[in-house]
Amino acid sequence: MAYTKRIDGRKFNETRKMEAKVNIIKNADGSALFRFGDTIAIAAVYGPKPLHPQHLRNPEKGLLRCNYDMISFSVSERKRPGPTRRSQEISKVSEWALTPIVELEKYPNTVIDVHIIVLQANASTRCAGINAAALALANAGIPMKQLVSSVSVGKIDKKVVVDLIKEEEDYREGEGSTDIPLAFLSKSGEISLLQLDGKIRPKELDEAIKIGREASKEVYEIQKRALKAVGEEK
């Protein structure tokens, strides 16, 4: 059967309800929460601070270091605490997704640590994590020319959809499920995260990225609003 209606009733190009909040962890230099429906990620930024060990220091620019992980009860089958191959890879791609926006040359010899924790998972966790991390970096007052907004797109059977939920990721009928996490720089529109799993033709990929770009603009609006809200509180 063709995928004509989404499992949770959303439109094909509709994201789940999003929520963003900054300044949620007092100890951190910057912090934020980002939510796509039932997927909740928080991020905290510590730094810039002197990088240890010293031989890793770069006198030309600072280092952005990401660490992504999920808490054990964020998923239905308990995730064993500690890093996995998956979490290490996601840490790295998140780092690559965020590095282009940070003006690291302003902080030679230092490191900016970004910790991303998934509190509750229902797919698109790396996207929620990156969105939270971008907000946390801005909240920490790190100079940036633009933000990063991340969203997942996918193809369920033959239909291109935005912001997949777990049940859609696991869809196995027809052409099955293809999952494509994406991140766009908010001003230049360049792509800083692109991964893919599944089965898709180049033309459909084209369409998916275009739809993803539109959805990322909505993410950006939510992020902007969250950053503004902090100013108003004070």
Binding site: P100, D170, I180, E190, D197, P202
Partner: protein, 272 residues
């Protein structure tokens, strides 16, 4: 960094004129050699050379418990080790992110293409299934380990023989292979990795070019079952902080399909 800025500058200048140090075109592979059956104790194995890059892959098969969400399917594990003997820049110790990422790209290509028919690897639903382990080792790194590794993994899987299974003891009798191969489909996956240096896009970089590269994007592709002319992308991985424009990604996706066909042909002639 490991190579000098001067070297990087020179590579860039060459590329701006569409030239490479070894006279190749930007979208040209080096010589590819595939040798199978390189290990007596593996169920399947292969050695792949792309230019001076060399990797070996071995397949070991055991019996294991299935995953709870795929009770009637065999399992797959891909692990890569970047051996210190293969490059002055690799260090001993547990796999680092480079090795983990490489293995996961190959893993996703193999898995998403449906190259292995996992349902046929079920021994007893919910209890016992065959587990396929593909281990990849770098022997000499001169760039493009990802594409070499995928090719080696696929070649090793193609030549793998199922081990004998003792139904009474519910154990594998190692050292005794049957004449039966792994249940494979025709959706053979291959990766093509593109690099961006300045504004130029190239494939199959030497290690110098790889170190100069700012952006990397790997595609794993295969032919869609049923419709042979339909080539699908099974996995993409963008590496490094350098961003890509939407337009570039579309262009690279089209190129990936072309290069996939070419690589497929080259492998076929290797097999006679």
């Amino acid at each position: 960094m490991k190579i000098s800025d001067l070297m990087k500058k020179r590579i860039q200048e060459f590329l701006d004129e569409e030239k490479r140090f070894d006279n190749r075109k930007l979208l040209e592979f080096r010589k590819i050699e595939i040798e199978t059956g390189v290990s007596k104790n593996a169920e399947g194995s292969a050695r792949v050379k792309i230019g001076d890059t060399e990797v070996i892959a071995g397949v070991k098969i055991d019996v294991t418990e299935p995953y709870t969400d795929h009770e009637d399917e065999g399992t797959l594990m891909v692990v890569a080790e970047l051996l210190p003997l293969s490059s002055p820049h690799f260090e001993p110790g547990p796999p680092r992110i480079e090795a983990i990422e490489l293995a996961r790209i190959v893993d996703r290509g193999l898995r998403e293409s449906g190259f292995i028919d996992f349902k046929k690897l079920c021994v007893k639903k919910g209890e016992k299934v065959f587990g396929v382990c593909v281990d990849i080792y770098s022997i000499n790194n001169d760039g493009n380990l990802i594409d070499a590794s995928c090719l080696a993994a696929v070649s090793a899987l193609k030549t793998a023989r199922m081990p004998k299974y003792d139904t009474k003891l519910e154990r594998i009798k190692y050292g005794e292979l049957t004449s039966k191969g792994l249940p494979l489909t025709k959706n053979l996956p291959l990766t093509i990795t593109f690099h961006k240096i300045g504004e130029k896009i190239l494939i199959d970089p030497s290690s110098e070019e790889e170190e100069t590269s700012e952006g990397r994007i790997s595609f794993a592709l295969s032919r869609n079952p049923g419709k042979k002319e339909d080539i699908v992308i099974n996995a993409i991985q963008k590496g490094n902080p350098k961003t890509f424009e939407e337009k570039e990604i579309f262009e690279i996706a089209e190129l990936a399909v072309e290069k996939f066909k070419e690589l497929e042909k080259r492998i076929k002639t290797k097999e006679k």
